[in-house]
Amino acid sequence: MKFFDRLLAIDRRIIFLFVIIAVTLPLFSKATLHIEVSPMVKAVYDAVDNLPPGSKVLVSFDYDPASAPELQPMALSFFRHCFSKDLKVVIIGLWPQGPVQANIALEDVFRDPEIKAKNLKYGVDYVNLGYMAGNEVVIQSMGSNIHTTFPADYTGNRTSELPLMKGIKNFDNIDFIYNLSAGYPGTMEWVQFAVDRFQAKLGAGNTAVQAPGMYPYIPEQLVGVLGGMKGGAEYEIIAKRPARAVSYMLSQGVSHAVIIFFIIIGNLAFFVTRGKKKTS
């Protein structure tokens, strides 16, 4: 019985050691895993895939580097998808770090030979309007006039002088909105203001913690949602471009298994010691 008592009082550093092994070792593996594409991810993919070339897509980067491991792969695969379909991309951020994360993603995507060959031009094929303070009020304001909400892009060019922005006044001229969100302001605010108020079409990529909160909005107010790294991996699979998220899935899977293993042995020890206490 002492064994189970000891198990209950296990040093947390032992658990930490197991977690670090579970997370890091699989990163060195090149094993390919079976990843099923969920209907929610497929819905977002189809919504983008069905847009005709030249359609305008607004991408809102509402996260910071803490959530980048989950959301950055989603940004990459989404940009790659948009540019390969010749869609026009307008980037904004409701989080101050968002537009920088967008620049990092763009830099990565432009290294892709297929995208590089398209010779995409800033201001014509994509723009980054930068960060704007005001949370959901920024969305509300964009519904009236994007040019007054963002008078200049993140480098100071006047928005009205950017060729891509000349045909865009408000959400009526945006064919699809994609929100990458790690909290507030994020997808919920986009649903409440851009979708409910201005009937915009919205898809989202969320952290795994946040994604379940978006389920009630699907499919009426939200086309679909990419939840956590798994959602990112599914998007890469459906786009037939397995990349970062797919390669991280083994690591995530093993770490989930380790946590479940600890929960099971913790409960086992709990029941055995509780039974002993009752008897005594």
Partner: protein
């Protein structure tokens, strides 16, 4: 007057925005645009105010050698370490462009620091799950089972563990069912409750009954 003016502004803006939602025509749409512009300006100033306040508190802590003064010093030094290169040595408005000193600090210092902080969560979640996730009663057991199925069903390992079962009994299917039905129903109930709470507290603020935000009771 210090109390009445904010209350009057809140009341007028709140009522106008409610009306403009249902009647999005002149003059309400124009007033709505005006108020959202003002809000954005106030929000931008609030950021500056927040930064100055943080600096003031940190500098005061360092100057008076209060408890934790060293962390205050780290805040002040980090602030200038990123602000000075960002403002003066990163090409003006294009400071967020790859290749600038600001971007270098962001990419090689800020991102790893933030990622490290967030990655620590995995260790604490594992440790906390081990200690707290116990089937002590019926509710806890249901939560435990739901967590078990969702955690395994959402990763490829779940597929390999249950691929020999008929599809409707596979871990991924069970996880999807939990997420789509009981989870969504629970979320909806919570959201409706929150929405009703927001409506009632917003009305209290607009009507001037709730004054905690201006220092009242």
């Amino acid at each position: 007057m210090r109390r009445e003016v904010p209350l009057i502004i809140t009341g007028i803006v709140g009522i106008t925005l409610i009306i403009s939602y249902f009647i999005p025509h002149t003059p309400f749409n124009l007033l709505q645009d005006l108020f959202t512009d003002w809000y954005q300006i106030v929000a931008a100033f609030a950021i500056i105010l927040g930064i100055l306040n943080l600096l003031r508190i940190s500098l005061d802590k360092v100057y008076k050698k209060k408890k934790g003064w060293f962390f205050g010093l780290v805040v002040v030094l980090s602030f200038f370490f990123i602000v000075i290169p960002g403002f003066f040595f990163s090409g003006g408005r294009g400071f967020q462009n790859p290749g600038t000193p600001f971007f270098w600090i962001y990419f090689y210092i800020y991102i790893p620091l933030m990622s490290t902080m967030f990655a620590l969560l995995a260790f604490f979640v594992a440790s906390a799950s081990y200690r707290a996730f116990r089937a002590r009663n019926k509710e806890a057991t249901m939560l435990l089972l739901a967590a078990f199925f969702v955690m395994l069903g959402r990763v490829p390992i779940g597929y390999y563990l249950s691929s020999w079962l008929p599809e409707s009994y596979q871990l991924a299917t069970v996880a999807d069912w939990i997420m789509n039905f009981p989870q969504t129903a629970g979320q909806r109930a919570i959201m409706i409750g929150i929405a009703l709470g927001i409506v009632s507290s917003s009305l209290r603020v607009i009507l001037g009954l709730e004054r905690a935000y201006i220092g009242g009771e």
